[in-house]
Each structure stands twice: as structure tokens, then as C-alpha cells.
């Protein structure tokens, strides 16, 4: 056999030993520090439980009214509001209310965590080219690594349940908000920034008065993308015990129940559209000052 017929790979034993060594090392580390890590995520776990209980224990009509009201005050558009109401009614009628509430709760917390972590990272990135060059490849990895792969270490570390699910979702969904915060701030008109400097703004005043407000449309697009990606990961996250619309889908795959899969799939689509339309309309409304142009 010629040398070029097969790639000169590492010997099988060495490769196995390498993998085993890394796994053993990581396992040892998790065994030692698992408790600490769990403790760190305790507050997030509490938040997850609190928001899920809130949505499940509140009588459904109140939730229905509340979400419809949010849609109205966010978008100020009748079609979006009516669409929201209709989608929720259908979800309830087809007996998916509880699962939907679990998913919505998960989405809410995931988005919140993504915003709280993502926006400051995006801001820091916009301030330093070095940081941008360092973080960008990390974001690339986070976005392209198959979702299943980072379920593994998360499960090893935290077991199955809500918190590891949240971690997996956030890792997958946070890149757009970081990227677009960075981009939005970098695109802010240099002249306006110069004016802010000329009047003696401190860097915090510049950020608060000029950069964030002017980057807001882009940041909102990032939040929107983050929500969409989080929803997309719901089914995968259900594999590690995240309750919600993902679990019936998983069950449907296992038992070849086509209709069950489609119903729950459509419910995910439904809330995705609600989230998307409302957040986009809200973002657009924030920019209302740019719509009325002189002469029109």
C-alpha cells in the first residue's frame, strides 16, 4: 500500500489514550468543582423556577390578556395584537398551553441572560480592535459547533435539567446580540461622536447619550436574532430535560407520531412569530424620530 493511500493518522492506541486522558481530566475536574459551579448558577435556577411558576400558576386568561397587552404596547399594531391573541387561543385549544408556558418562560430567561451578558461584551468589543479580533473566532465556534456537542460537557458538569438547558441555549443564542451590539456601536456617525466629545462628554456619557441610542436599531435586531436562535434550540435542549414544547417533539420522533410533532412544531413557530413581530415593531417604534423627514 502506497503512503498516500491513507492519511498518516496518529496511532489508534495513542489517540484513544489522548481522548481518555482529556475526558478523565475533565471528569475529575467536574467531580471536584461540580458543586461550586452549581452554586454559581443557583440564582439563575431560582429565576427559571420563579418565572415558570409565575406563568403556570397564574390562571390562563390573565396570561392571555397580559401577553396580548404586551404585544399591543410593544407594537401598537392591531394585526400583530390580534394575531398574537389568535395564536395563543389556538395553542390553548389544542392542549399545548402548559408546554408553551414552559417554553416561553425558558425563552424569557434565556433572552434576559443573553442581553445582560451580551450587550456589555459587545460594547467592550466595539471599544477595542484587539478584543474584537479575539472574541470573533470564539463567537464563530459558538455558532457553528453542533448544539449536541456542548450539551455533553454541560451535562457532565451540571447534570440534566433547566440550568444546563439554559446554558446550552445561551451559548448558542448569544453571538448575534454580541456581534450586532459591536457592529451597531461601530457604525455610529463619527461626526455626532465628535460633537459629543467637543462638548466634553465623558466616555460613559458618550455611551449612554450617543452610542447606545444610535446603535439601538442594530442592537434590537441582535436581540431579535437571539430570541429566534434560542427558540430553534428548544428541541435540542429538551434532550437534556428542558421541559416545554421540545419534549413532545422528541417523543413524536421516537414514536413516529407525525401529528403530535407537527402540532408542537407549529406552536413553536407561532410563538417565534409573536416574539419576532412584536420585538421588531417595538424596535421600529423606538426609531420613530427618523421616519418623519423634512419635506415629506
Amino acid at each position: 500500500m502506497a503512503w498516500y493511500d491513507e492519511f498518516p493518522a496518529m496511532g489508534r492506541t495513542e489517540l484513544r489514550d489522548l481522548k481518555n486522558a482529556i475526558d478523565k481530566g475533565f471528569r475529575a475536574w467536574t467531580r471536584e468543582h461540580g458543586g461550586t459551579v452549581e452554586a454559581i448558577f443557583e440564582p439563575i435556577k431560582d429565576l427559571l423556577i420563579w418565572s415558570e411558576r409565575l406563568l403556570l400558576n397564574t390562571p390562563w386568561p390573565i396570561i392571555l390578556i397580559a401577553i396580548t397587552a404586551i404585544a399591543w404596547f410593544g407594537s401598537r399594531k392591531i394585526p400583530i395584537t390580534v394575531g398574537t391573541l389568535l395564536t395563543l387561543v389556538l395553542i390553548g385549544y389544542f392542549d399545548m398551553w402548559e408546554d408553551t408556558m414552559r417554553t416561553v418562560s425558558m425563552m424569557f430567561v434565556c433572552t434576559l441572560v443573553s442581553i445582560v451578558i451580551g450587550i456589555p461584551i459587545g460594547i467592550a468589543m466595539s471599544k477595542s480592535n484587539l478584543l474584537e479580533r479575539m472574541i470573533t473566532p470564539v463567537l464563530d465556534i459558538m455558532q457553528t459547533m453542533p448544539g449536541f456537542v456542548y450539551l455533553i460537557p454541560v451535562v457532565m458538569l451540571l447534570g440534566i435539567g433547566k440550568v444546563p438547558g439554559l446554558l446550552a441555549v445561551v451559548v448558542y443564542a448569544i453571538p448575534p446580540i454580541i456581534r450586532l451590539t459591536n457592529l451597531g456601536i461601530r457604525l455610529v456617525d463619527k461626526e455626532v461622536l465628535e460633537a459629543a466629545d467637543a462638548f466634553g462628554s465623558s466616555s460613559w456619557q458618550r455611551l449612554k447619550n450617543v452610542q447606545i441610542p444610535l446603535a439601538m436599531p442594530t442592537i434590537m435586531a441582535g436581540i431579535n436574532q437571539t430570541i429566534m436562535m434560542a427558540l430553534a434550540l428548544v428541541v435540542i435542549a429538551s434532550m437534556i430535560g428542558v421541559q416545554g414544547l421540545g419534549q413532545p417533539v422528541l417523543k413524536a420522533i421516537a414514536n413516529q407520531q407525525f401529528t403530535l410533532g407537527v402540532f408542537n412544531g407549529l406552536a413553536i413557530v407561532g410563538i417565534a412569530i409573536i416574539f419576532d413581530r412584536v420585538s421588531q415593531a417595538y424596535g421600529k417604534r423606538l426609531q420613530s424620530h427618523s421616519e418623519v423627514v423634512h419635506g415629506n
Partner: protein
């Protein structure tokens, strides 16, 4: 009336080279390396070279030049939006270039205000919220912010537009907002970077008048950048002309029109309405009054007005009086008209006269 005293600005030996290793080319530039050579051989851009300017307190200093001459770079050195490669910018004797971050921030907040060519308003804020910006970041209390802002919005003629967004206004109105924002800051130095260049001619004239009216009352130290000589002559107490980053001539409008330093400036002043720039004092004969003169003109009368006055009174000679009302010389109709038309205009005007 403003209570603050105006501040003088002095620029000494200012050089600005753009590029990675700017400092290392300073000596070469000081020894005569030109803009082009620096660019071609070393890939560095010479922004400003050996600028020495004294801008007296309370007057309007115009810096004029074509695009690329370094005028916008120069004005940005005064509030240090750009750091010089070497040189000093002294405001009332204090070097702006040596200030630390905090001192610089305070200097910008309290001593300078700036108006920009493209207005640079905050698009997400209403007119009034734009105008209070300077005071807001100084931490002035809200009520005072509002009263001050409303006062200046009123002064620049924008009452009733307080709650509009900038892009609901025309260019001229937006620049009034820019001006009001700068004036509300109540700073002794007003930096105007091509402030009226983006406006159409009529509105520009209008804004020039607004500025001149305000200046009569406020007596700020104004640095005004323009590429338009007419604007420079109309506004400037003193004018500095910049070319390739160096000052080619500095003086009053009259100095520049009457004694252009070189062909470059000569070319500029060719089309100027001399009757509105040159004053009686530069064509009068000093000495005793003319015995037969019945008309008296101030030293600072423009030639155009002097000629009009003499024509109307039907006289050929007038006495010139100074600010104290004392006579200091005489001026004839002939000299006045001769100064208004350029002596070497044979080529164009002569031919037109012949063909007519």
C-alpha cells in the same frame, strides 16, 4: 449679556503629521521636506506645518483654505479633538495639549463650544434636548438647562420648534439648532467648522447676519473655518489663509485684498467685491482736511458707501474723521473708484468696455 471674559488663543509652532510614526518625520519636515515627498516616500500625510497664529480675545478669526488645506485639522487642535505632533495651543496662556483627561474635559465643557459643518445633531433627541446637551453633561440643574436652552432657541429664531426632531427641519434650521446648542454652553470660545458651508447661499447670508449680530453683543473669541472668501471677508476681523497645511497669509480682510501675498491668494481675491471690503482709511491721504469739502466720512466706511455718499452729495472730495470725530485726512472720488476696480483688470473689463 454674557458675563464671562473672552479668551485669547495662541498657536505656536504647530505641526501635525498623520501616520504611524509621525514623530520621526518631524525633523525632516522642519528641514523642508514637502507634503508630496512625505506622502510618496514615507506614506505619511502632512496635515499642518509650522502654524503660528494669535487670535485676540473677543474677535472673529477666520481660517480660510480649500479642501485639503488643513483648516478643519487646525480647528480641531484648539479643543484637541486632534492631538498635535508637536506644538502648543495656548488658551489664555494655558497649553491645551498638556492637559490631562479631566482638565481637557472641563476645558471642553466650559471654555469651548463647537458648530459642525454637517450639524452633527443627535437624531434621536428633539431640538430642545439637543440644545441642552452641553449643560446636561456639565450636570447643570434641569430648570436652568431648560431656561437657557429656550432663550437661545428663541434668539436663533426657532421658537415653536422645540419638540421637533432634527430631521423634520431644513438644513438652515438644523444649523440654527447647532448654533443654539453651542451658544447655550455659554463658553468664551466658539469654534465653527465650515458651519455655513452646507447651506444654500441665501440662508448662508442669513446665518452670517445672525452670527454678526450675536457677536456684537457676546464678544466671544470665534474661530470660523470656511472655504469661501466672501464669507471670510464678511465675518473675519482677521483672516488666515491656509494652503497645504501652512499659513500663506494672515491679516485683515483689507490686507489680503489689497496686498495678496502671492499668486495663489491673488487668484482668490480676483472676484471679490472690493468696494465692500476696502475701507476709506486705506485710500485716504493723511493730513489736513480739504478746505472745500462739505462731506465727512468715517475711517471705517466701505468704499462702496463712500462713493455712494459722494455721488449723492455731488462732491468729489470728502474729509475723513476718526472714531473720536477728529479729522485725519481726505479722500477723493477718483481714488475711491480707482481702488474699487483692480488696476490690472485690462484683460477682462477692458475688452468688455471696448466691445460695448
Amino acid at each position: 449679556m454674557e458675563t464671562e471674559t473672552a479668551e485669547s488663543i495662541e498657536i505656536r509652532g504647530l505641526y501635525k503629521i498623520f501616520g504611524r510614526r509621525a514623530k520621526s518625520y518631524i525633523d525632516a519636515v522642519k528641514n523642508g521636506m514637502g507634503k508630496q515627498e512625505l506622502q510618496e516616500k514615507h506614506g505619511h500625510v502632512l496635515g499642518l506645518q509650522d502654524i503660528n497664529l494669535t487670535m485676540p480675545a473677543g474677535s472673529i478669526q477666520v481660517v480660510m483654505g480649500l479642501s485639503g488645506s488643513g483648516k478643519s485639522t487646525l480647528i480641531r487642535h484648539i479643543n484637541r479633538l486632534i492631538d498635535p505632533t508637536v506644538g502648543e495651543v495656548l488658551v489664555n496662556g494655558e497649553d491645551v495639549c498638556k492637559m490631562n483627561t479631566r482638565a481637557l474635559r472641563n476645558f471642553r465643557r466650559h471654555k469651548t463650544a463647537m458648530v459642525f459643518q454637517k450639524f452633527a445633531l443627535l437624531p434621536h433627541r428633539t431640538v430642545i434636548d439637543n440644545v441642552v446637551y452641553g449643560l446636561e453633561i456639565q450636570g447643570v440643574d434641569k430648570d436652568k438647562q431648560q431656561t437657557e436652552a429656550r432663550r437661545w432657541i428663541d434668539r436663533v429664531g426657532l421658537s415653536g420648534f422645540e419638540d421637533n426632531y432634527p430631521n423634520q427641519l431644513s438644513g438652515g434650521m438644523q444649523q440654527r439648532v447647532g448654533l443654539a446648542r453651542a451658544l447655550t454652553n455659554d463658553a468664551p470660545i466658539l469654534l465653527m467648522d465650515e458651519a455655513f458651508s452646507a447651506l444654500d447661499p441665501l440662508i448662508r447670508m442669513d446665518m452670517q447676519s445672525v452670527l454678526l449680530d450675536l457677536q456684537k453683543e457676546l464678544r466671544k473669541t470665534v474661530v470660523f473655518i470656511t472655504h469661501d472668501l466672501d464669507e471670510a471677508l464678511r465675518l473675519g476681523d482677521r483672516i488666515a489663509i491656509l494652503r497645504d497645511g501652512a499659513v500663506v497669509q494672515e491679516g485683515t480682510g483689507q490686507d489680503i485684498v489689497l496686498r495678496p501675498a502671492d499668486d495663489y491668494i491673488e487668484n482668490f481675491v480676483k472676484e471679490v467685491n472690493r468696494g465692500r471690503v476696502i475701507l476709506v482709511e486705506s485710500v485716504m491721504k493723511e493730513g489736513p482736511p480739504a478746505a472745500n469739502a462739505t462731506l465727512e466720512l468715517g475711517r471705517d466706511t466701505q468704499l462702496e458707501s463712500a462713493a455712494r455718499a459722494m455721488t449723492q452729495s455731488n462732491v468729489n472730495v470728502a474729509n475723513v474723521i476718526d472714531m473720536n470725530g477728529e479729522c485725519c485726512g481726505q479722500v477723493t472720488m477718483g481714488d475711491t473708484v480707482a481702488a474699487m476696480v483692480r488696476q490690472d483688470d485690462e484683460s477682462e473689463d477692458g475688452e468688455q468696455a471696448r466691445s460695448a
